[in-house]
């Protein structure tokens, strides 16, 4: 019976028992035949045969006990023996377990991240029935409210459909803003997802009607942190965007929303949006795309059916919501759109889109780290198997089968791997908090559940078992191939297998050097990218600039009053202590917000479809002075520009070159080519290029207009450049706001912080790849050192003789280092080839360097070379120090 089928016996109880029963039945049949042949009548014969056999269930149980007991006993025996062997060599065991622990821990940690971000289904009922709605491609997934209301009417297509919009709500009624993640949701949100209430009641269709009362549902976590517990939250009033909302219920504890990485604390009906954003809000706007839609496939239906039925009603949906103010061409394109559906069991996620590729690459990186760790352990085991030759030969001589010895050796390596796996889980647990910090997202921490669920633990177990087999097979195989006779006769350690052990060991060290070069080079590229991005000159000077955002939309004052107050606040800020330079704008650089339109001018014909798609910002006077962007030609806005008189604009150099070529744009007239007809503007100045959407993108052609000229006036961000200590600078801003608009609440941040947030993914990649690169190097160093130390010990006698014959210490060191050098050179050569192939994977993450950046490769190669040679040099020097007399006398 094979080892596997024995394991099977324990778990496949039924078929095992059936097999025993078949055997017993056969026996009784044969006995019956015999009795019949002796003349007994058939019926009596079978009875007699069964009687003579004895009590069948007892026999069956005894047979079964034998099978299982002996298997368990031999397993326990192997385990006991393995534990004893490992305890006898504590140094070896610790190095092996820690190497594996680091390798497996890295894999577990990255996998738990991958699991949380990509693999895990939403914590709702039957998540596989959920789909998200899009227009055409999978990423085109935001809808207008009129369009949503049309789709909501098609409810018979779904077993529930809902809309939602992730938001950050401000809970502070005035003063400094207090932001929490939240969402506007339609009435069918909770019922479609099948989420229950922890306390009170959840939002229903009746709550989501025009002019609805200001009610909210809190998350379980919010209920607890704000009001002590879920039940107390019901009936409480919270201020959201300055408006009082009453909490009608608390959602089920396990529910964390439908977006991975962002868990809303407050759910507001979509109909309350105008209360917070002011004015008429976005409910009637046919060009305001802000809602995401999800539906549940009916139990009897399929995704294909839902897609087909959505396709059939699409024309009707878009006809009913056609934006009247669009150009004819725009309207025609609008009518051609179709609504379709994609599977959404794992929910929606901005974090996932941003980190998917990064996590895959990190998974590959930790896989390589684990390989290096495995190579280490294999090397240690090989060396130890050589040292254990006598023991094994002895066991074989007294009758242990080769299979038995191999099984014993494999039990040892799997035990090592499981210990490593256990340690790895501890490492992973500890590291997940660090990982969450690293994966940050704009304006807050990412909400990810990195608990080690069954899938993660299963993954770890599988990885541990696989690694155990991977690094255990070679040493086990080698150890049973010895001829016990030869080993026992040779008397000493390292007879026949010695030299081949060494060759295998050297090959592993070469592989380690090669693999660690790949990781170090990759880390170098990613670290270099992060450094370039965080030190590049973005076209403005972020240091010392504070950003204060004020939502004018929800302020309780007449609309025409708001711009006046906004301007007054700017003046007040400029007169704050320290007399800072201050300005205001609709958009700040690298904030994730953008505003673009097609631009036209006299005599300009765009050559490509998007050639004249340019970016806009609405700004106050002295914006460029505050940001530290130079005005190259013409003049800045004045405080009066944009209020009355002709419309004016400043453009950046990129735009001047793109649209006007070599001609000076100053004095030229430009206009927006939009769905709506916009009045023309006169260009009054040209400014230095500055980054707009991201630090990575090349500078986009940009038009700056006075903020009063901007499309809609919802919020303004004040930039304040201050030399005061942070606390005083913030206090100054808050005091100015309190004096001008006491009811306003300000969200204060810093421009350098905003830039750093935008590089979160780069920071994650750089930090982790740097860490794993260093880890790879450390593991390779241990492996190299171990191999050389073992090698030198084995050659003690030879080296002693050389010294006795007059070799100098320097000569000995050179001799040993020569060997190290050969391994390092081969390893680096192979590593360079592997790097050429491997770094191509990170191309998309690099900035201002190719995957084969020569400087990075040279530095990485040098780093690996220095570490490897150093690891080999220590045993070399030690070898040269030994006293030849004492070595030779040992014999």
């Amino acid at each position: 019976m094979s080892w596997l089928s024995r394991i099977g016996n324990v778990f496949r109880r039924r078929s095992h028992v059936q097999e025993i029963d078949r055997e017993i039945a056969f026996h009784i049949q044969e006995a019956t035949d015999r009795l019949e042949a002796e003349g007994m009548p058939p019926a009596q014969a079978s009875q007699e045969a069964a009687r003579r056999f004895g009590h069948q269930p007892t026999v069956r149980e005894r047979v079964r006990d034998v099978d299982i007991y002996l298997w368990l006993e031999s397993l326990l025996g192997d385990l006991r023996y393995a534990v004893r062997t490992l305890l006898r060599a504590p140094g070896f065991t610790v190095v092996a377990v820690v190497s594996l622990g680091l390798g497996i821990g890295a894999n577990t940690a990255i996998f738990s991240l991958l699991n949380a971000v990509i693999l895990r289904s939403l914590p709702v009922a039957r998540p596989e029935q959920l789909v998200k709605l899009t227009m055409g491609s999978e990423t085109n997934d935001v809808f207008t409210n009129p369009l949503w209301e049309e789709i909501a009417r098609q409810e018979e297509i779904f077993a529930g459909v809902f809309a939602f919009s992730s938001q950050r709500f401000n809970l502070a009624p005035s003063g400094q803003a207090r932001l929490v993640d939240g969402a506007y949701v339609s009435g069918g949100f909770f019922s479609t997802l099948g989420v229950g209430a922890e306390a009170g009641r959840l939002l229903a269709a009746a709550d989501d009607q025009r002019g609805c009362p200001a009610v909210a549902v809190a998350s379980y976590g919010f209920g607890r942190s704000e009001f002590g517990d879920a039940a107390h939250a019901v009936g409480q009033i919270v201020s959201v965007g300055g408006q009082p909302f009453s909490i009608i219920g608390v959602a089920q504890r396990s529910f964390t929303g439908v977006e991975i990485g962002r868990s809303p604390h407050l759910y507001l009906p979509i109909c309350t949006e105008p209360l917070i954003d002011g004015g008429k809000g976005a409910l009637e706007e046919r060009s305001n795309w802000w809602l995401q839609l999800m539906g549940r496939i009916p139990p009897a239906g399929s995704e294909a059916q839902v897609v087909a039925r959505l396709g059939a009603v699409s024309a009707e949906l878009f006809r009913a919501t056609l934006p009247g103010d669009w150009s004819t061409e725009g309207q025609q394109n609008y009518l051609k759109r179709t609504v379709t559906a994609y599977p959404a069991a794992t929910g929606l996620s901005e974090v996932r889109a941003r980190y998917r590729m990064a996590l895959m690459i990190l998974m590959a990186v930790v896989g390589v780290v684990l390989l290096i760790a495995c190579a280490n352990v294999t090397n240690l085991l090989l060396a130890r198997a050589a040292a254990r030759q006598r023991e094994l030969a002895m066991r074989m001589a007294i009758g242990a089968g080769r299979g038995r010895i191999m099984r014993q050796m494999l039990t040892e390596s799997i035990l090592l791997a499981l210990l490593g796996g256990g340690l790895g889980v501890l490492f992973a647990r500890w590291s997940t908090t660090v990982l969450i910090e690293l994966i940050g997202q704009r304006g807050g921490q990412v909400a990810l559940d990195l608990s080690l669920d069954g899938r993660v633990l299963g993954f770890t177990l599988l990885v541990a078992l696989l690694t155990g087999v991977l690094f255990g097979v070679a040493p086990a195989w080698r150890s049973v191939r010895l001829d016990p006779q030869v080993v026992l006769k040779s008397g000493g350690a390292g007879a026949t297998a010695g030299s081949s052990t060494l060759t295998a060991g050297k090959l592993l060290v070469i592989a380690q050097i090669a693999l660690s070069l790949v990781l170090v080079a990759t880390a170098g590229l990613l670290l270099g990218t992060f450094r370039s991005l965080s030190t590049l000159s973005p076209g403005f000077h972020p240091e010392g600039v504070y950003l204060a955002e004020v939502q004018f939309g929800s302020l309780d004052m007449p609309e025409e009053q708001k711009p006046v107050v906004a301007a007054a606040l700017l003046e007040r800020m400029r007169n704050s202590p320290g007399a800072p330079s201050a300005s205001a704008s609709v958009i700040t650089p690298v904030s994730g917000r953008g505003w673009n339109s097609f631009l036209l001018t006299q005599g300009y014909h765009p050559s490509g479809k998007h050639d004249n798609l340019v970016w806009f910002n609405g700004i106050s006077d002295r914006y460029f002075a505050t940001m530290g962007t130079a005005i190259i030609a013409g003049r800045d806005f004045t405080g009066q520009d944009g209020t009355t008189g002709p419309r004016v604009a400043l453009v950046n150099q990129a735009l001047a070159t793109r649209i006007f070529g070599k001609v000076s744009p100053i004095g030229k007239t430009i206009w927006v080519h939009n769905e709506q007809a916009e009045p023309p503007m006169e260009v009054i100045g040209v400014v230095e290029d500055a980054k707009y959407q991201s630090l990575r993108d090349s500078v986009a052609p940009t038009v700056y207009v006075p903020w009063r000229q901007a499309e809609h006036f919802g919020s303004l961000i004040y930039e304040v450049r201050s030399n005061l200590p942070p606390a005083e600078a913030v206090a100054g801003i808050l005091a100015a706001a309190a004096a001008v608009i006491p009811s306003a609440s300000l969200e204060i941040s810093t421009l350098p912080g905003q830039l750093a947030d935008s590089l979160a993914r780069e920071r994650l990649m750089a930090t982790l790849s740097g860490f794993f690169g260093a880890l790879a190097l450390l593991l390779a160093l241990i492996g190299q050192y171990g191999t050389m130390a073992y090698n030198v010990t084995r050659r003690r006698k030879e080296l002693g003789i050389r010294v006795a014959l007059g070799a100098t210490r320097g000569g000995l060191v050179r001799l040993v280092l020569g060997e190290v050098g050969r391994m390092v050179v081969i390893g680096l050569a192979l590593g360079t080839l592997a790097t050429f192939a491997g770094t191509r994977l990170v191309t998309a993450f690099l900035y201002a360097r190719t995957p084969l950046d020569p400087l990075t490769l040279v530095i990485a190669t040098l780093a690996v070379a220095v570490v490897s040679v150093a690891a080999g040099a220590i045993p070399a020097v030690r070898a040269s120090r030994q006293d030849p007399q004492s070595v030779l006398r040992e014999e």
């Binding site: 019976m1 024995r6 078949r22 026996h27 056999f53 007892t58 026999v59 005894r62 099978d67 002996l70």
Partner: protein
């Protein structure tokens, strides 16, 4: 369960099975009892309650291997045969048995 008086001495069963398999080659459990019963001139009867656990234990030890096959009466049966380790074990068991019987014989003669 009462033991029949002609039950086989504990420990010798393994030896008898090994020997039977060495002579008979590949046989099933019933044939083993039958063979022992016949060859011992009906002096020894192997109790089934001991035979099958013993066979399975020997399989675990690697002395015998088992596989399902068909008898001449076209019945499915589990056939046992000796392994190399089983042959070695047989030699050792035989030596042990000889020493034991010689020892017991001497004691009976001189005691």
């Amino acid at each position: 369960m009462t033991r029949p008086r002609n039950d086989i001495l504990q420990g010798t069963l393994v030896l008898l099975i090994l020997r039977t398999l060495a002579v008979q080659g590949k046989v099933h459990g019933y044939a083993i009892t039958d063979h022992i019963h016949r060859v011992s001139a009906e002096q020894l009867r192997v109790e089934e309650g001991s035979l099958y656990p013993a066979l399975h234990r020997m399989e675990q030890e690697g002395w015998v291997k088992a596989e399902w096959g068909t008898t001449e009466k076209n019945r499915q049966a589990r056939f046992y045969s000796l392994t190399a380790a089983g042959r070695k074990e047989l030699v050792q068991e035989q030596e042990r048995w000889t020493r034991l019987t010689q020892g017991v014989g001497r004691v009976l003669r001189f005691a």
